[in-house]
Symmetry: C2
Subunit: 327 residues, 2 copies
Amino acid sequence: MHILIIGAAGMVGRKLTAALTGSGLLAGQAITRLSLADIVVPELPAGGIASTAVAADLSQPGVAAQLVAERPEVIFHLAAIVSGEAEADFEKGYRINLDGTRHLLEAIRLESRHAPYCPRLVFTSSIAVFGEPLPAVIGDAHEHTPLTSYGTQKAICELLLADYSRRGFVDGVGIRLPTIAVRPGKPNKAASGFFSGIIREPLAGQEALLPVADSVRHWFASPRAAVGFLLHAAGMDTRLLGNQRNLSMSGLATTVGEQIAALGRVAGPQAVALIKRVPDSTIAGIVAGWPQAFEAKRARALGFVGETSFDEIIAIHIEDELGGRIG
Amino acid sequence: MHILIIGAAGMVGRKLTAALTGSGLLAGQAITRLSLADIVVPELPAGGIASTAVAADLSQPGVAAQLVAERPEVIFHLAAIVSGEAEADFEKGYRINLDGTRHLLEAIRLESRHAPYCPRLVFTSSIAVFGEPLPAVIGDAHEHTPLTSYGTQKAICELLLADYSRRGFVDGVGIRLPTIAVRPGKPNKAASGFFSGIIREPLAGQEALLPVADSVRHWFASPRAAVGFLLHAAGMDTRLLGNQRNLSMSGLATTVGEQIAALGRVAGPQAVALIKRVPDSTIAGIVAGWPQAFEAKRARALGFVGETSFDEIIAIHIEDELGGRIG
């Protein structure tokens, strides 16, 4: 099986690559070839699978066709610019997040003109497709009224994925990932950064700023769960999806206060003491518009399994990022 | 006020043109100029308003920029290829229905770089944005899971209209028209054609075929109501829409049986006798997947008024198309 990962240099892309090369299998089949692409050349993985890595900007003419010309059976499309950047640079957001995906879908459709070709395409969408008015728990049939250009671009790509799948041009699965926590790496300026920072920094003996109230509730999955969702989407029986190719993933609804309590249970009060409450009304305002929880009944029924406690999410971070030890 | 109508040669476009030239006003303001565009040159209206008519294909580079360069204050964008054609010709559907609209939005955004410009843009969407699973009555917050490429293209344009409006590039209102009945003109091959045919043909003393059961329920507005929706959308206070720029119009939910009963009341049993029941399982299957009724609470609260009985819809047809007389 030949697998293509577009967006392989990002955090989720690297973990997905490691999982695939680690097992050598996808959906029980041996992986014979791994093609990695991103805007910068992704690192080639260690291990026995024949791998290539290329720099590729899907939004440029002909690039998608080149990637697809080698007819990978499974394509993971993770490439996107993030919400803040898509809001700051309107043209770039539409070029990368919309045109890039559309070029990929078109390249797949046109490739099938030479000989039958209908790869599995796993697309990472986002809970940013949802906007006001938001209920406390968002059902599987909730409308898409995004409040950002990023969310608009993801919602449009979901519609395209469903239509191209309905027409038989691609075998698509769109997965709306929860906010990923605990994100490894350095603090960043994303409005959601603190959700990871208040766990990651104290576990490393460092101070973390908390800009919102303890009562703020949000929707999470670990990086490991995110990779699990991608692998499950790549192997699932898509006949079960009917024409509804996009799914809100299962996740964990939890408050900042519960996150902190979990940190205390795992790493003690000295870790909790490293969290400094510095209210920031701008961040609080942004976060107030975000989804708090999802029903995710369809995803659960289809076997997409997330975490059930924040203790578990912290334990995964310690295992996968800290070598099993708290610093 | 300078008004541009794109898609002015179609049935609704011609009626809209006639309404505007008839009153000389839009939202209480005098119309000083009317620009008409369509894939074929629209007919110039009689009357005192300075009018121009051009053939224009929005999907071609530069065409939208030319139309927008004259800075119309109100733009009606009605141009689209219909559902059946978008399904039969995948590339043409995306080119006309998606790229055409996107070019228009981009042309408006880029025009504002020279000097402030944010026209009112009224876009005709469709109830085809809705697909399975469909409740008996579709609420204002129902998700979009279109089952046709046409519905997908309209749903994408709605998302773009909302995002461009949120960003302040355009002042957009998207209106999802009910099925228009009674459509004037000759029978066509649209799957929905019989809804008009079973009224129009008997009123003209001709036979009409009915391919579905009398129990089939669907959602209607007259051509006159459709023009009323467009005019209201052009003049309304869009601050009332918030970020949700697209609305399911109000309409009338009625069954084929009720349509026929109304025909009998208006034109007698000899008209009803001209309806021949010739079941067609293909058409019945297509129609079974269509919306039956909408709540349309938002539209009604915002002053979009449709018909309340099919008798009224038939009376409008007789008044507007038959000179007030049954033939």
